[in-house]
Amino acid sequence: MAELQFAAPETVNQAIKILGGAKGKGRILAGGTDLLVQMRSGRIEPGFIVDVKNIPELTEIKKEKNGYRVGAAVSGARLGEHKSVKKKWPGVVEALELIGSTQIQGRASLGGNLCNGSPAADSVPAMIAAGAICKIAGPKGRRTAKVEDIVTGPGKTSLKKGEFIISFLLPEKPKKSSEAYLRLIPRTEMDIAVVGAGVSLTLDNQGICTKARVALGAVAPKPVLVEEAGLILVGSKLDPDTLEKMASACRAACNPIDDMRGTVEYRTKVAGVLATRATQIAAERVRSGR
């Protein structure tokens, strides 16, 4: 393979130019915890590595009027240390913090986790549940897109040639809202999710659910927003019957594969279990005002 080239631009436009010049062989490097593994195994052979960690827009966490903006290259460790983001979006932060070890946390980013395109990515169901919006830059300028519209299949995204994600907006939540993310792994750490479930919801003063989004990971070719499940929760007090109906909606939304990490039957069943438990945790977090 030709000599690999590396650049660490300091502005978005410089990055766009370099990517454009790399004739399709360019790859964005944020944390690199997926990229380097795939390069070493030979699964990908990029010609040009564009390190975006020196571009302020991709590495800052800042409050905005309608939520928090998190740079695409911010590491899980850094986001985990940000008090107010962690308080308002516990689901997104715990999902990102579940990825790999402490060492992986020191590098892995929301942008990388999303653009790697793995159906089992941990942070993506949580971001979908939170309704996160990504800001994308590319040769034709900037645009925004919902997180659930980015991944189109295993390892594939809807980003066009030369585009990359700059940051994510975690939209402000109404009062008495919270969220949670759970995953099923055989060990207690270090595994890829066999099933992942993210739930974000809002309760009114009587404890009735007024808003809910449920997303699942590792149960379909890409992380999925299960609208039906959210609708079932809205209007209920999250009673056992409602939760069971919501769980069966989740099971219905699954079309997983058998692979060495899990079977179709197992993933489908556990998807319902985790969605139910995540809903209960999110509700508990609202009630306890956390």
């Binding site: 490097l29 593994v37 070890s101």
Partner: protein
């Protein structure tokens, strides 16, 4: 074979090294700088034997390119206990028999020292989850966790 010139600080000393764009920080430390204390167990970020800190952040050196280290401060096992005295974590690993073959020990010591700098009074569970990325096949972890808790106790004074 075009190599890039990278300047970084390693264990407090300024270092200049030439490395290819695809060369990991781990390869740079071991092959270019001769610092073989950082070990390779898997090259995929799953074993933690190559743990180092970059600007105080605990990472796997095998999952970072050498060229990314430009201008950064790297701490490896060789930088710990350099002075007369071993670091408390190193001493307690010895006293508590927290190592057998020792291939994972450098990674554990870098990770444990980093933990105690951030959390001087961790619970057993916090230590176990912080170190979950450092695999050990000889000890079953029991004495490693005890050594870290004892070191924390001593460092709290």
């Amino acid at each position: 074979m075009s190599k890039q010139h990278v300047t970084m600080t390693v264990n407090g000393d300024p270092v200049e090294v030439l490395c290819r764009a695809d060369q990991t920080l781990l390869d740079c430390l071991r092959d270019e700088m001769g610092l073989t204390g950082t070990k390779e167990g898997c090259s995929t970020g799953d074993c933690g034997a190559c743990s180092v800190t970059v600007d105080g952040r605990l990472v796997c050196a095998c999952l970072m390119l050498g060229v990314e280290a430009e201008g950064r401060k790297i701490e490896t096992i060789e930088g710990i206990g350099e002075s007369e005295e071993l670091h408390p974590v190193q001493r307690h690993f010895l006293e508590e028999a927290a190592l057998q073959c020792g291939i994972c020990t450098p990674g554990f010591i870098v990770a444990a020292k980093n933990l105690l700098e951030k959390n001087p009074n961790p619970t057993e569970e916090e230590v176990r989850y912080w170190l979950a990325g450092n695999l050990c096949r000889c000890t079953g972890y029991d004495k490693i966790i005890k050594a870290v808790l004892k070191a924390a106790e001593e460092m709290r004074g």
